[in-house]
Amino acid sequence: MHYLFTLLLLLSGLPALAQRIVLPDGEYMDTTSARSPACARAGWARYYSVQGKYPRSSYMLAREAQAFLQGQKQGYAGSGYVTFRFVVDCAGQRQPRVQVLQTTAQYQPTHFDKALVEALYAYFQTLTEWRVGALQNAPVNYLAYFTFKLKDGNVVAVVP
């Protein structure tokens, strides 16, 4: 019984590891599909058609993300971009399926240290105030992305 309890405890911690999943169409932090039944019939848009940028300034988000990284008390390295692509459903809930794109500062594909990507993903998961997107007064699901610009392992900007 104790073993079962310990196993369940270990398994419950697994999603926090933010493991990368490689699929034919790209790399993902999470491939879990979950959609509110109410959003199944909703239309689709891109974030820019529904003013879906996260409701904080880029400066504020970069500062928060950098503080989060520093709080991990690990030294990170590398310069370039880490981008998470995802869907926000018609109820304003970010969906768990998240694609990850990584490039150098010269926009060449690369892979940063996994611990850095996981720390950024952990910060990204703290963002819970996504806007509800609407077109012609009807709520829609929308595709969005969130990019961290890194310089020597520090977050220096956030896009969009």
Partner: protein, 283 residues
């Protein structure tokens, strides 16, 4: 004997393949080198092709690819193909195309790439290089309604190179005012110059430029917000919240920085209601 026959057949096949290629594809020295021919392809594949669809429709990309299959040296097709990619955060794919467009036709697409680096990817060092290079090719020109020194100033402001940013904005204003020095200056030049002086703790100049910006565009949310910050830095506890509230009211009413691309990416120093609420709480 059999080996010799096979060898001869291979040679014939190779020769035949080579002839097919040269006959099927217009060469760069041939029609593809002609601007008129390139323009006809743009009309056929972009204006009457891709542009009939949203850039998120797969047919947009297919039309661009079709054009490039005929002539791989049409810069506009690369730039158009990159449009949906940059707006989706797919930088690796987008910049291969933007780089190709800028290399093929720098007078048209180098400043645009600089703009993307400045506003979309916050690659301020890279943007400055592009704008300086294109300024040598096309001095006095503009991109997205602004002079090249405007974007250089924006980048230097964000990099903390305040002296250089000041020189850039002065040059931007000089170019906008024209030879007679009478033409109006864009309100966002006045806004960013005000922000620069606020950063430099030159509050008198910050107040002057932000006030001029608000004279041109009274509902400018960011100008109201940063003027509030200027008054707060000056210790004026009555004026500061007045401007924060004006910024909040303007944002709620739908007023924005008024740049074409703010829906895709935040401009430097662009704010949201959250920052205003923080300021009103004295943070």
């Amino acid at each position: 004997m059999a080996t010799s026959w096979l060898w001869c057949l291979s040679l014939l096949a190779l020769a035949h393949q080579g002839r097919c290629q040269s006959a099927a594809l217009p060469t760069l020295a041939g029609p593809c080198g002609s601007q008129r021919y390139q323009d006809s392809l743009v009309t056929k594949y972009i204006e009457n092709g891709a542009h009939r669809y949203s850039y998120n429709d797969p047919r947009w990309t297919q039309y661009c690819d079709s054009l490039l299959a005929v002539c791989p040296n049409v810069a506009y097709a690369y730039q158009q193909k990159a449009v949906p990619l940059i707006k989706d955060g797919k930088y690796a794919e987008a910049f291969v195309l933007e780089n190709r467009a800028a290399a093929l036709d720098p007078t048209k697409w180098l400043a645009y790439r600089g703009f993307l680096k400045c506003v979309f990817t916050k690659d301020y060092e890279g943007a400055i290089v592009d704008f300086q290079e294109v300024a040598r090719l096309k001095p006095g020109s503009r991109e997205m309604d602004h002079t090249y020194p405007f974007f250089e100033g924006l980048c230097n402001l964000e990099l903390g190179n305040f002296q250089r940013a000041e020189a850039n904005f002065k040059e931007d204003i000089r170019q906008q005012k024209g030879p007679g020095g009478q033409q109006p200056v864009h309100f966002n030049t006045l806004f960013y110059t005000g922000v620069l002086y606020l950063e430099m703790k030159n509050y008198a100049q910050a107040k002057s430029y932000l006030t001029q910006c608000l004279q041109a565009y009274p509902q400018h949310p960011e100008a109201n917000y940063y003027l509030g910050l200027t008054y707060r830095a000056l210790g004026d506890k009555q004026a500061a919240p007045r401007y924060f509230l004006a910024a909040q009211k303007a944002l709620a009413a739908g007023y924005r920085l008024n740049e074409d691309n703010i829906y895709y990416a935040n401009y430097p120093r662009q704010i949201t209601d959250y920052e205003i609420r923080q300021a009103l709480q004295g943070r």
